[in-house]
């Protein structure tokens, strides 16, 4: 019955000996090195591993390799054809590129293979067919509408033989420029659709070892005994390290160094994901066996399970300084006077759960020791420069001894800012002097990395009868989990934004960011504002109802505008497009439905009721709060006349590399294809700072722009001198420099400059306008983005089920640098907001994680995708590149309250807690009707 596995892969026949326990995905990736097939979950949930087996799409991660015997397999690498040196893309691949369906790219091989199988069977699919086929192929960047459009375009091209149609529905920026403001393709899109794109786990080094960490798996206690002897003796184990082996600093952290690299004997375990020991072995399998042989005993302590409990007296203190990470305060005006003057006062409390980024690519780090004693770390990280700092601190090395070589990232969304395996692989690689890879499986990813803060938010709002808000008091509790991560920053943003994007003369906000025995909470797209927007925007609708006022009018009346003073005392000097966002969303909604907020009963099924909901939000661009916000960029002219722009800023799928490329192309007046981009390598690129707070378009965009301008000025000066003309007479146009009748290519410019001993290369360090710490007034942030969304929902009155049918999203982004990329950010933002509202809840019970795999932690798939209409509003901010500010987060923030307000409008059930519980809706309805 048993023998070799003989099968065909992409037209080539293979005969391989079976390896016990091997899945098809592992065989393809490890033995055939076809790494285009990705592994996102290893539980048949995400679809990234989809390949075709005898023409049928299958999840190769749960497909025993030995079952492939006699079968014909097609992987992503089998679609494109290499014609001479050129890759001839399959129309599906081409359409995914053209339609901006490729963002982080990690899910794309699975999307394309699933779509390929669909088109083989059904050459003319409807939108419904596509959704049915892609039901379980998850995209966390969530460009589902773009994916649908790409598949439709590819199907048409395949049927007609015509070229793939480009998208036609994405308008250019209203701000006129040559290159920026028009839609452009991502520089790395083609490699992402062919499977050639390399992510960290796709790398293999000679002699590489495989690592695994022993996790505490208890939420709170003291480590009393740790026995690694059996693990050490296991053949194939090369190193087992514990806290005793940490060379220098014992803790890591982004702001506060409170997170132990490993917990030592006698030390406190603060959450289930704490590392106790790390192993490096010849194979992944041996590393896992070794981990199972490590014995640990604990003196268990009572578990702190929520931030309110954490603040009570007499409860165990998780850190030496107590359970309070930070009490954050916002004070403006006089609360007593404000509430005394109010005609109406409302007070309500809202709850939001912990949620997870669930980026498609689990964390992976590889440490590679170099002969000269340096250490390279290959990792997909949002902050390569800080990784370097943190690794060096723990190793006791100067920073220069560490090189972080950032890799393509399969999504981050804030979840790849903290150090995960970087330090562990550095330690193991240093001890073994061999390359060491540490790949998290999905479970470890879910257990260990920081999440979105669960919150309790009380909102008390006072208003005049005419609708003017005169006082807003909020009290927030944030569950920051076991370690600080960016908890203080996140909850500060939640607090300062907790009165909404409104002019409120009297504001008092108090936030308690509390340590608990839960997985840490840190950065996650929306950065605290997502939570407070749900609370305040729900309260706004309740206020409108109490006042008998139109809810849009209430928002418009109180909206921030140029000249307004924010809660923190900042005068907004420019770029406040909130009112235009409100107006445009309202107009678009009214086009579809004249009475959007009135419930409409389905004529065929009286249980189905539809209505719209509305919400506004704002979100800072940049770090703010007094933190220096700096990014560096290099721009270099090469001998062939092309340019390179470099920064250690991170590309996690959001499209920064396109922004950098377009910026330099604009300034140098060349085609974007003439500009290559290098990011995330701490040896080769200047520090771009963290990729967080929607800051990179602004800061690294500016750094790229000014670096390019400086280079252009140098060229101008050199040419002016050489040809004795005034600088104004030198013009840059279509890749040509016109100097007083001469027309020179950049290749010629390069020759001229190098002949004069000049290096055509500029480094520019851009520092954003200074900001002030909270409590000191002045500019806490240098820019804000504004967003308004309306959502149409359908609620089933019997079952409480909620479907989101349509979302209209208007975002004031200052200026749309790349409208195609922006479209993806808006679609993805809405979908992530929808998931936050309806599907996602990271459940921890008594410190133990319940949602420890993707089957339990549901991220929205294509079936839940509403019709999304994106409206771009462009109120430029003076200092931003071409007026641009951030968009990454604002696009996600108003979705939740827009949906929950719509649910209320449809059936009269107010949602105080997310995710929306359909049983709660049904129960409230049946109790109300007394049956």
């Amino acid at each position: 019955m048993n023998n070799q596995i003989t099968f065909t892969v992409n037209g080539l026949q293979h005969s391989l000996d079976p390896i016990p326990g091997e899945t098809l995905s592992t065989l393809l990736r490890e033995r055939l090195r076809l790494t285009g097939t990705k592994i996102g979950c290893e539980e048949a949930e995400c679809g990234a591993c989809t390949v075709l087996v005898d023409g049928q799409p299958m999840m190769s991660c749960v497909y025993p390799a030995e079952r492939a015997h006699g079968k014909t397999i097609v992987t992503i690498e089998g679609l494109a054809q290499r014609v001479h040196e050129e890759m001839k893309l399959h129309p599906l691949q081409e359409a995914f590129v053209e339609h901006g369906a490729v963002q982080c790219g990690f899910c794309i091989p699975g999307q394309i293979m699933t779509a390929y199988a669909l088109l083989k069977r059904n050459p003319n699919p409807t939108q419904e067919d596509i959704r049915f086929a892609l039901k379980d192929t998850l995209c966390r960047c969530a460009g589902y509408p773009s994916i649908e459009n790409a598949i439709l375009a590819a199907a048409q091209a395949l049927r007609t033989g015509e070229p793939v149609q480009k998208p036609t529905h994405i308008p250019d920026s209203i701000h006129e420029h040559k290159t920026v403001g028009h839609s452009h393709l991502r520089p790395e899109a083609v490699e992402k659709v062919t499977g050639e794109a390399i992510y960290t786990d796709d790398l293999k080094f000679d002699g590489m070892l495989y690592a695994k960490a022993k996790r505490a798996m208890i939420p709170h206690g003291f480590l009393t005994r740790l026995d690694i002897s059996k693990a050490r003796e296991l053949p194939g184990v090369v190193a087992v390290l514990t806290a005793d082996d940490v060379p220098a600093e014992k803790n890591h952290g982004l702001v506060i160094f409170d997170w132990p690299v490993m917990v030592g004997i006698g030390e406190r375990v603060r959450y289930v994901g704490d590392a106790l020991a790390i192993v490096a072995a010849e194979t992944q399998d041996i590393a896992e066996q070794a981990i199972a042989l490590i014995e640990a005993e604990f003196d268990l302590q009572p578990v702190i399970t929520n931030p309110v409990q954490a603040r009570q007296e007499g409860v165990p203190q998780i850190h030496a300084k107590g359970n309070l990470l930070k009490h954050i305060k916002v004070r403006k005006g006089d609360m007593d006077a404000g509430f005394a003057a109010a005609d109406v006062i409302l007070e309500h409390t809202f709850h939001t759960p912990t949620t997870d980024h669930a980026f498609m690519e689990p964390e992976c780090s590889i440490g590679v020791p170099l002969p000269d004693g340096r250490m390279e770390i290959y990792v997909g990280s949002q902050i390569p420069s800080q990784d370097r700092t943190q690794v060096a601190r723990v190793m006791g090395w100067p920073e220069e001894r560490v090189r972080v070589v950032g890799q393509l990232m399969g999504g981050g969304f804030g979840g790849k800012e903290d150090v995960m395996g970087q330090i562990h692989v550095a330690m193991l690689a240093n001890v073994t002097q061999r390359p060491v890879k540490l790949l998290f499986d999905r479970r470890e990813s879910l257990l260990v990395h920081p999440k979105r803060h669960a919150t309790q938010i009380r909102v008390k709002v006072g208003a005049k009868q005419d609708g003017r808000i005169i006082a807003m008091e909020t009290e927030l509790y944030g569950d920051t989990g076991a370690y600080a991560s960016l908890g203080e920053k996140v909850m500060t943003r939640a607090t300062t934004h907790s009165a909404g994007p409104y002019v409120v003369p009297n504001v008092k906000a108090d936030c308690y960011a509390m340590y608990t025995n839960h997985p840490p909470s840190g950065a996650f797209r929306g950065f605290g504002v997502l939570q407070s927007a749900f609370a305040v925007e729900s309260a706004m609708d309740m206020l409108a109802e109490t006042l008998g006022m139109d809810r849009i009018e209430l928002r418009r009346m109180n909206a921030l505008h140029v000249g307004s003073v924010t809660n923190t005392g900042q005068v907004l000097r420019d770029s406040v497009g909130l009112t235009e966002c409100i107006d445009k969303v309202e107009a678009e909604m009214l086009k579809l439905e004249p009475h959007p907020f009135a419930p409409r009963v389905d004529s065929a099924n009286p249980n189905l009721v539809r209505a719209w909901g509305f919400a506004s939000a704002y979100k800072n661009t940049g770090l703010g709060g007094g933190a220096p916000d700096i990014s560096g960029a290099d721009v270099e002219l090469y001998a062939d006349g092309s340019f390179q722009v470099r920064s250690s800023a991170a590309e996690l799928g959001q499209g920064l590399v396109t922004v950098m490329r377009l910026t330099v192309a604009e300034e140098m007046a060349v085609a974007p294809e003439k500009v290559s981009v290098l990011v995330m390598d701490t040896d080769l690129t200047p520090n771009g700072g963290p990729t967080t707070a929607s800051r990179q378009t602004y800061v690294t965009g500016n750094a790229s722009r000014y670096a390019a301008r400086t280079l252009r000025d140098q060229i101008t000066a050199t040419m002016a001198e050489k040809y004795d003309v005034r600088p104004e007479q030198i013009r840059y146009e279509n890749g040509i420099v016109h100097v007083n009748g001469h027309s020179m290519s950049y290749a010629e410019i390069y020759k001229e400059m190098t002949a004069l001993g000049q290096q055509p290369k500029v480094r520019y360090e851009y520092e954003a306008p200074k900001t002030m710490p909270l409590g000191e007034g002045g500019d806490m942030h240098f820019a804000f983005s504004f967003g308004v969304q309306a959502a149409e929902v359908e609620v089933n009155k019997l079952t409480g089920e909620v479907r989101v049918l349509k979302v209209i999203s208007a975002n004031d982004v200052g200026m749309a640098v790349n409208p195609l990329g922006l479209q993806g950010q808006v679609e993805g933002g809405v979908m992530m907001g929808l998931g936050n509202c309806l599907t996602e809840e990271f459940i921890v019970e008594n410190g133990q994680v319940v949602t420890d795999h993707l089957a339990r932690y549901r991220v929205p798939g294509i079936m839940l995708t509403p019709e999304i209409t994106s409206i771009i509003v462009e109120h430029p901010t003076a200092e931003g590149p071409y007026g641009a500010k951030g968009v990454g987060e604002i696009s996600s923030i108003p979705t939740t309250p827009a949906i929950t307000n719509a649910i209320y409008n449809a059936v009269g059930v107010r949602i105080y807690k997310t995710p929306v519980d359909q049983e709660m809706i049904a129960r409230e309805l049946w109790e109300r009707e007394g049956k």
Binding site: P20, G21, M58, M59, F132, D136
Partner: protein, 297 residues
Amino acid sequence: MNLWQEYKRPVSVTEAVQALASAPGPALPIAGGTDLMLDLRQGNHPPIHTLIDLTFVPEMSALELRGDELYVGAAVSVNRVALDPLAAAHAQALVEACNLIAGPQVRNTATLGGNVAHALPAADGTIALTALDAQAEVAGIAGTRCMPFTSLFLGPGKSAIDKTKEIIVGFYIPIAKTLKVSQTFRVSSCFKRIMRPQGVALPILNCAVWLEREGDLFKDIRIAIGPGGPTPFRATEAEAFLRGQSLSDETFARALDLLLEQAKFRTSARRASADYRRHIVGGLLKDVLDTAWSRAI
């Protein structure tokens, strides 16, 4: 850690059963393996030495008419059932259930045998087969036997099949009545379910109805609800009442009352409370019944 040590690809039922019996360590049959692979990987299953792949056994991958019955091999992928014209003609409820199981990639691997072998009282395929009154063929070292479908289930997750010794070979779905009916008799079935978007991919409630209609009367009817008890639930009281009745608000209300009296709805953590299930079951049943009824014209 290695999920298994040895992997066998038998090509007959006899070979498969023998492989199971003769394995040097703990052995299990694997059909689609979508659940088993996860259980092994997540440590929810004791370590396995030998996996016996059933998908190379032709008998278990057959889907065909056999006399008055539709035979569906236990290793037929649910997607094949979902797309099969014979199944569409004779077992709409099963087709609808199979179409709702996971996504296409999983459906291409997952099998009805696996769906049933887990003995969950609310698996979609299980509820459809319950309403369709299927028989299961089970093979052991002593030979094969046929048993009524519902007798495979002893309790939640507890199967009458000893997976280390026996194999579900396939299912027989009776269609004789469909073929022999006169013009006025019509047979149809339907499956629907209610989900929630969070958490586990198990339905809050699902329902399959098979019925034989004679003019405006129910000649015969079978109603399956999951989870309506520890094993797949048949609303036999409601069925008995409806036989010979027409479908009206009154008869439906009485049937629902009988169903609610008979069913043992329970609260499942993070999925649904018993109250909620009781509240929504009527709407679901009505929907399924109406659809099946209108199909049977």
